[in-house]
Symmetry: C2
C-alpha cells in the first residue's frame, strides 16, 4: 500500500458543523526521515473541543491517536510497537520519536482506554478535580455533560477520591440511567426542565465543586447551588461552541458574594499529571471498580460522522473511532 | 452626657438608597458590664458593601469605627485608650475587650489611616493582590473604581509589589487626574465610552490581573484584556448593588479558553493578614511613598449623606466620617 487516507476541514462552519465542512483525501505515504516511524492508526479520538478549533484552525488536525509502527527509521521503535501520537484524523502518520509515546497497556486494560479514561479525556477530569477544584473527601460534586467522556471519568474518579454526593446532568433518559449505573448518586436530564431547578432538587443542600463542560445555563445553575468557597473547574463550553455566547449567568456576582473560585484550564498544560494519574487509575480499571466507558465507531470512513455525533451527544462515555 | 446618637435603617430600599431609608435615634448611654468599655467614636467607616447589607441586614450596624475609651470596666483598657471596633454608626458604643483592638498609631501616620489604607479597605486591596490574584513583579494590573478606597490602595500597593503597568478606571475626569497623581500609569473615565475599548487602548498588550470592585461591563472588559493564566480578584460589585444583574460579561467562556481564574473573597476571612500588611505598609506611609488617600466628611449628622455619597462615588480615596 502506498497511499493513506486523511480527513481535511474544507470550510469554517457557521453554527453546527456538517459533513460538507470536511473532505476525505488520499495521499501518498510519506517517505520517512531519519528518526521517524510510520504509524498505522488503530484508534482516533474525536472530541467536542475540536469544534472550537474549526473556527481558527482545523478539527482533527492534531487529534490524538493510537496506532502501531509499521515501518521504522528509529532504532528504539521497532515495527509492531504501539504508540500514542497527535497526528490527527488519518489512517497513517509519519511521526518523529520525540512526538510520540510508547503505550504498553497494563494487563486487562484495553488499548482504547489509553485514548479515553486513561488518556487526555480522563486526565482532564483528574486534573480538574485534583489540581483545579481540589476536591476534598466528603465534598459534593456536580458534573455537566456527565455521560460524555470527561464527565463519565470525573464521576468515577471523584468516587475514588472520596467525594460526597455526585450529581450529573445529561441529555437523555437513557444517559441518566447510564449515570446511575456507573455510580452517580443522582442524575437528571437537562431537557426535562430548568437546570437550576433540577439541580436544586438533586442537591438540596448545595454543592462544593462543579466540573463544567457546558457553560451557559449549567454554569448559572451551579453558581446558584455552590456553597461558600465552592469551586468551578471549567474545561469545556459545549453549549456555545456552535452558537452565540449564552447570556451571562445572571447570578455571576455570587462568585464574589460566596467567595467562589471559577477557574479555566487546558489539560495540555498539565501533562506532568499523566504518569501519577495512570498509576492511580490502572488498578481500578483492572479490578473493575472503574469502567472503561466508551462508544466506539467502526471504520475510518465514519470519522466525520463520529465527530458530528459527539457534538450532538450521541455517545455515552468517550467517543472513539476504530480505524479498521 | 447620658445619651448617644445612632443611625438605624428603617426600610429596605428598592434600587438606589435614599436618606429616608434611615433615621437618627437618641438612646440612653448603656450601663457597662464587667469587661466592657464605653467608646466615644472619632471616625466611622462608610463602605459600598453596606448597600448589599441593606437587602438582608442593616447598613452600618456592624460598621468599622475608631474611638477613645471614655469609661472603662476593663483593667487593660484605661480611659483615653484608642481602639478599633465594629460597633457601627453611633457616637458611642459599649464594647467588650474581646470585640475591640487597641490602635497605637505609628509615628507620622494619622489615626484615620487605620480605618482606610491601613484598615479593612487597604487590607482588601492587599489580600486581593497577594493572596487571591497573587500578583507577581512585572505583571500588569487593572483596577476598577480605582479612585475609591480599595482601588486607591490597590494601585499604590501594587506599585510597591513591583507591578508592571497599573491601569485604573474611575467615574470623572477629576478622578482620572487624581489616579495619575497617585501613581497609576494610565487611567480612564468609564463614562467616556465603552469600558472594553478604553481598556484595550490603555492596555494594548493586555493585563495579567484585574482587581474587580464593579462587576458588569468592567468585568467583561477585563476578561477581554486578560492574558492566558490571568486572574481576577473580585471584592465588590458596585455596578449591581442597587440594580438588576447586568447582562455582561458576554465573553465569560474566555475564562475557560484562556485558563483564567476568577475568585471572590471576603476580607473578613483574611484578618490574619492584617499584621503582616501593617508591617509592610507603615514605613511607606511614614516616608510618603504611599499616600493616605481619603475623603473625610465632618459630623455624625452627615453619616447617611456620606454613605449615599460613597455609593454615588463622591469620594476620592477612602470615605470616612469624623464624628465630632
Amino acid at each position: 500500500m502506498s497511499t493513506f487516507l486523511a480527513v481535511r476541514q474544507v470550510r469554517r462552519p457557521q453554527g453546527t458543523p456538517s459533513a460538507e465542512d470536511f473532505t476525505f483525501v488520499t495521499e501518498p505515504l510519506p517517505v520517512l526521515a531519519d528518526g521517524q516511524v510510520l504509524v498505522e492508526n488503530v484508534y482516533l479520538s474525536v472530541d467536542p473541543y475540536m469544534r472550537q478549533l474549526m473556527n481558527t484552525g482545523e478539527a482533527g488536525r492534531e487529534g490524538r491517536a493510537i496506532g502501531r509502527v509499521v515501518e521504522s527509521r528509529s532504532a528504539g521503535l521497532p515495527v509492531g510497537t504501539t504508540v500514542f501520537h497527535r497526528g490527527g484524523w488519518t489512517t497513517h502518520a509519519a511521526v518523529g520519536a520525540a512526538d510520540l509515546r510508547r503505550v504498553d497497556p497494563a494487563g486487562g486494560v484495553p488499548l482504547s482506554a489509553y485514548l479515553g479514561v486513561l488518556g487526555g479525556t480522563g486526565l482532564t477530569a483528574f486534573v480538574g478535580l485534583t489540581r483545579i477544584a481540589r476536591l476534598r473527601p466528603g465534598e459534593d460534586l456536580f458534573v455537566s455533560a456527565a455521560a460524555g467522556g470527561v464527565g463519565s471519568a470525573a464521576g468515577q474518579i471523584a468516587r475514588l477520591m472520596g467525594a460526597g454526593r455526585i450529581i450529573g446532568s445529561a441529555g437523555s433518559a437513557a444517559k441518566v440511567a447510564h449515570l446511575k449505573e456507573i455510580g452517580f448518586d443522582a442524575a437528571f436530564n437537562h431537557r426535562d426542565g430548568p437546570v437550576g431547578e433540577q439541580l436544586a432538587q438533586a442537591a438540596p443542600r448545595g454543592i462544593d465543586v462543579y466540573l463544567d463542560n457546558v457553560g451557559g445555563d449549567h454554569l448559572e445553575a451551579a453558581i446558584g447551588a455552590l456553597r461558600e468557597h465552592g469551586r468551578v473547574a471549567w474545561c469545556g463550553a459545549i453549549a456555545q461552541y456552535s452558537s452565540a455566547p449564552p447570556a451571562a449567568p445572571r447570578n455571576l456576582a455570587d462568585v464574589m458574594f460566596k467567595s467562589l473560585r471559577v477557574e479555566g484550564y487546558l489539560v495540555r498544560e498539565h501533562l506532568d499529571a499523566r504518569e501519577p494519574f495512570e498509576r492511580f487509575l490502572v488498578p481500578h480499571l483492572q479490578n473493575g471498580s472503574v469502567r472503561v466507558d466508551e462508544t466506539v465507531v467502526d471504520g475510518f470512513g465514519n470519522v466525520v460522522e463520529a465527530f458530528l455525533g459527539v457534538l450532538r451527544g450521541d455517545n455515552t462515555g468517550k467517543m472513539l473511532v476504530r480505524v479498521s
